[in-house]
C-alpha cells in the first residue's frame, strides 16, 4: 500500500495502467486517491447464484424504481388541496363540466386528460404499485419456503417484512390522494378503523384529520407522507436490504459443487449486470404495456368524493383485500359496558388481525426455532420446501387463510355472479376461512412427505420412476436411468478470472499469481 502514496506524473500513471488505456488511467487516478482497485474488482467478481426464483426480489426493486420515476412526474401536476374549484366548461370529459370539485381531484383529472403522457404515467404508477406489493409478497414466499430467512439472515427478513408493511401503507395513502368517491370512502373506513382502537381511537382520528372527518387537511398530510416520508424510509431500508445481501452473500440451492462455504453462479460484471439490466427493462416494458392497455382507477367515472355519496361493488386494491374480507365476514360483536364501547367487530379484523399476521411474519425465524424444529446453525444452502414439511405446511395454511379472506372481500360480487343469496356466501366464507387452513396444513404436510420419496436429484430434467415388484411382492419405485441426451451437464465452477489468458501464456500467468505475497493479508503483485 505504501508504494501508491508516492506522487506520480500523469505519464507514470499511464505507464502503470498499462494496456488498458484511458480506463486504466482513470482506475490508477481513482485508486491513488480512494484505493478502489482491490475492493472494486472484488465487487465486479461478486457471484450471484442463478435461479429463476431469485429474480422475484428484482421485480420489487425495479417496480420501486418505476414508482419513483412516474411518481416524481405526477407530483409536478398534482395539487394536494381540498380547496374547491369548478371544472371548466371546455374540459374534455363532458360529464364533469361545471362540477365543483377539490383541487386534488381537478389536478388528477387534468393530468389524465390534458397533460400529454399524464394518463400513461398515472396508470403506470398505479400498476407499478400493485406489482411492487405483489412481487414483495411472492419474493417473501420464496424466501420463506426455501428457508432463506434462517441464520444469519433474520435481520434482512425483518427489513423485508417492514418494507412490505410500508409498501402496503404507502399504496393506501397514494390511492387516497385523488379525492375521488371510491378513495374517499376508503379514507372514511380508515377513520372508523382508527376510531375502533380502544382508549386512544378518537384522539387518533382527530389528530390525523385535524378534527372531524373529513376536514380540510387530510389530503395534504397524506400527500407529504406518501411522497416524502414513507419513500425515504423505503429507500433507506432497500439500501439496508441490499447492503446486507452483499455483506452476507446470496443463498443458493444445493447442487454440483455448491457448498455452505462457496457461491456458484454468474459474476456481477458483466453477466449479472446484463441479465438484471435486461430484467429492469422488461419490468418497465410490462408496466408500460399495462399502463397503455389496462385501465386502472378511472376516477373521472367515480366523481368527486362527497361524504354522503357511495358507489356499489367496489373493492380496495388487492393487497387490502384480506382485511376487507375479514371485516365482511366477522360477526357483529360490539361490547358496551361502564360507559365505554369496544367495537370488536372492527377492532379485531382491522387492527388485531393484521397485527397478528405481520407479527407472525416478523417473528417467524424465532418461531420456527422454538416450535417448528428449526436449528440455530448458519445456513447458506437453501431447503427444498418438501424437505421441511412443517414449515411448508404452515406457510401454505397461512397463505390459504389470507387467500380465503381475499376472496371473502367480494361476497356481494360472488352472490350476484353465482345467483345465490348473500347469506349463503357469507356463511360459506365463514366456514371456509376456518376449514381451508386447517385442511391445508395436514394435506401439504402429507404431500411433502410423499414428494420426499420421489426424485432427489437437483438436476433440471425430470426422470421417470421405474416401479419394480420384488420377489417378496413389494413394489419399489426407483429412478429410471438418464435417457441419452437428457442428462444435464453442468461444468465445474471456476473462479472468476482476473486475467483472461490465451492458452499459450497461461503457464506464465500461473507463475505470476504464485508470486503474490499472502503473508500479511495484503497482496502485492510483483510486476
Amino acid at each position: 500500500m505504501t508504494a501508491v502514496l508516492k506522487p506520480r506524473t500523469k505519464r507514470q500513471a499511464k505507464e502503470a495502467a498499462g494496456p488498458y488505456g484511458k480506463v486504466g488511467d482513470a482506475v490508477a487516478e481513482l485508486d491513488e486517491r480512494l484505493g478502489i482497485a482491490k475492493g472494486g474488482r472484488t465487487f465486479l467478481d461478486k457471484i450471484f447464484p442463478d435461479h429463476w426464483s431469485f429474480m422475484l426480489g428484482e421485480i420489487a426493486l425495479y417496480s420501486f424504481v418505476i414508482l419513483l420515476i412516474t411518481g416524481i412526474f405526477l407530483t409536478l401536476y398534482f395539487v394536494p388541496s381540498q380547496g374547491l374549484v369548478k371544472v371548466p366548461m371546455n374540459f374534455p370529459y363532458k360529464p364533469l363540466r361545471g362540477d365543483t370539485v377539490s383541487q386534488a381531484f381537478m389536478s388528477t383529472i387534468n393530468m389524465s386528460f390534458n397533460v400529454r403522457c399524464g394518463l400513461l404515467m398515472r396508470q403506470m404508477h398505479h400498476w407499478a404499485c400493485d406489482i411492487f406489493v405483489g412481487s414483495i409478497v411472492v419474493h417473501m414466499a420464496r424466501v420463506f419456503f426455501t428457508g432463506a430467512f434462517r441464520k444469519p439472515r433474520e435481520t434482512n427478513w425483518l427489513v423485508g417484512t417492514t418494507l412490505l408493511i410500508l409498501a402496503i401503507a404507502n399504496g393506501f395513502l397514494g390511492y387516497s390522494l385523488p379525492d375521488d368517491l371510491v378513495s374517499g370512502t376508503g379514507i372514511r373506513i380508515a377513520d372508523s378503523i382508527m376510531l375502533s382502537v380502544p382508549v386512544v381511537g378518537s384522539y387518533l382520528s382527530y389528530f390525523v384529520f385535524g378534527g372531524n372527518f373529513p376536514g380540510q387537511v387530510v389530503i395534504a398530510r397524506f400527500f407529504v407522507i406518501h411522497v416524502l416520508l414513507v419513500p425515504l424510509i423505503i429507500l433507506g431500508l432497500v439500501g439496508a436490504h441490499l447492503a446486507l445481501l452483499v455483506r452476507q452473500k446470496h443463498t443458493q440451492f444445493p447442487g454440483k459443487g455448491r457448498t455452505e462455504r462457496n457461491v456458484v453462479g454468474s459474476p456481477m460484471f458483466p453477466v449479472f449486470i446484463f441479465k438484471t439490466q435486461g430484467f429492469l427493462f422488461m419490468t418497465f416494458g410490462v408496466t408500460a404495456l399495462l399502463g397503455a392497455f389496462a385501465q386502472i382507477n378511472p376516477i373521472w367515472q367515480f366523481g368527486q368524493y362527497i361524504p354522503s355519496n357511495i358507489s356499489y361493488a367496489v373493492q380496495p386494491d388487492w393487497y387490502m383485500g384480506f382485511l376487507d374480507g375479514l371485516l365482511r365476514i366477522f360477526p357483529a360483536w360490539q361490547w358496551n359496558a361502564w360507559g365505554h364501547t369496544i367495537p370488536f367487530e372492527v377492532t379485531f379484523p382491522a387492527v388485531i388481525f393484521p397485527g397478528i399476521v405481520f407479527n407472525i411474519a416478523m417473528a417467524w425465524p424465532i418461531l420456527e426455532r422454538k416450535f417448528f424444529g428449526g436449528d440455530n446453525e448458519i445456513h447458506h444452502l437453501l431447503d427444498r420446501p418438501r424437505d421441511v414439511p412443517k414449515r411448508t405446511a404452515f406457510g401454505v395454511a397461512f397463505f390459504a387463510l389470507l387467500a380465503t379472506l381475499f376472496v371473502a372481500s367480494s361476497t356481494d360480487v360472488l352472490a350476484n355472479y353465482f345467483h345465490v343469496s348473500l347469506n349463503t356466501v357469507l356463511w360459506t366464507m365463514r366456514v371456509l376461512t376456518i376449514v381451508i387452513p386447517l385442511v391445508a396444513y395436514p394435506v401439504t404436510y402429507k404431500i411433502c412427505l410423499e414428494l420426499q420419496g420421489g426424485g432427489t436429484a437437483m438436476g433440471k430434467r425430470k426422470r421417470p420412476n421405474d416401479v419394480v415388484r420384488t420377489a417378496e411382492g413389494e413394489y419399489v419405485a426407483t429412478q429410471a436411468p438418464v435417457r441419452p441426451g437428457d442428462a444435464h451437464h453442468e461444468l465445474d465452477a471456476t473462479p472468476v478470472p482476473t486475467f483472461i489468458a490465451a492458452a499459450a501464456v497461461l503457464s506464465e500467468g500461473e507463475a505470476m499469481a504464485e508470486t503474490s505475497d499472502e503473508s500479511n493479508g495484503a497482496r502485492v503483485v510483483d510486476r
Partner: protein
Amino acid sequence: MSENVNDHGAADITTVSADAPQMQPLAKNPKGVEKAISALLLIGIAAFVGFGVCYWQNAAYWTYGALLGLGLLAMGAAFIAWGKYLLPRGPFVEERHVLASTETERSAFAAALMERGAGEIKRRKVLGTLLGGSLGVFSIVALFPLVRSLGPLPGDKLAVTDWKKGQRLVDINGNPVNITDMAVGGVLTVYPHGLENTDDGQAIDQTILIRVQNEPFTTMKGRESWTPSGYVAYSKLCTHLGCPVGLYEQQLELLVCPCHQSMFNVRNGALPQFGPAPRPLPQLPLAVDSEGFLIAAGGYNQPVGPGYWERP
C-alpha cells in the same frame, strides 16, 4: 482461504485460459444469436422512435404507451439474451468468508462497550440517573409539538350532530321537503337546513329519508309520533364503518350498506338484519311544520356512525 480477510474479501489473482469451457458462450451458434439480438435492438430503436413521433403528434395515449412498452421489452430481451447466450457461460465460484470474528476480538469489543461506556454510567450513579431522566423528559415533551399540534381534542364532539328541534330537512341543493313531495318507496338524502354543503353536514349529519307508506307507523316503542305520513328518517352513517347506507331495497324495505352489506330493517327501527353492523341506525324524530315541510322533532338521541371507546 485465509481467515484474516478484510471486509471487501480480498480475491486471489487468478488466470483462466480463454479456451476454458466456462469461458465459452452458451450459444452453440453465436452468430445466429447476434443476429437475433440485433433484430431485437432494431425493434427497440424503431419502437422508441415511434414513441417519440406519437408523443409529438399527440396521438392517443395507448399508442405511445404500447410503443414504449414494446421498445423496453425488446431492449430488455436483447440484454438478457446477450448476458445468457454470448457472455462466458460459467459457472463461476467464489468463497464465502466467515463473517464471525475471533473470540478475542469479540471480548475486546464487548469490553470496550462495557468498561468505557456502561461501566462509566454505572460508576456515577447520580449522573446516570439524571441522564436517563433528561432523555425521558425530552422524549415526552418532544411529543407535544409532534403529536398534540396535529388536531383539537375530540371532547364529546363525536357524540353530537347539528340536528335540532324544528330544523327543516333539505336535500343537497337546499330545497326543503314537502310532505307531498315523495311517493311511497321513495328515498332522499337530507341535511339540516343551511348545512347541506358543509363538511360536517355532509359527513356527520347526513340522514336518509324514506317514505315507507302513507300513514304514520311505529318503528319502536316510544317512537310512535316519529313518522308523520309514513316518512321515516335514519342516520345515513353505517354503524359498522361509517359508509353511507346508500342502497334501499324497496320490496324488502331494507337499507343496505354497499361497503360490507349490512342490512337494516326500516320498519322496526333499522335493526341490523344481516352483516357486520352491530347496532341499529339512529332514528331522527320527524314532524311537519305549518307550511307542510318536514322538520326534525329533535336531534338524534345517540351518537351516529361507527363505535368508539367513549361512546356510552
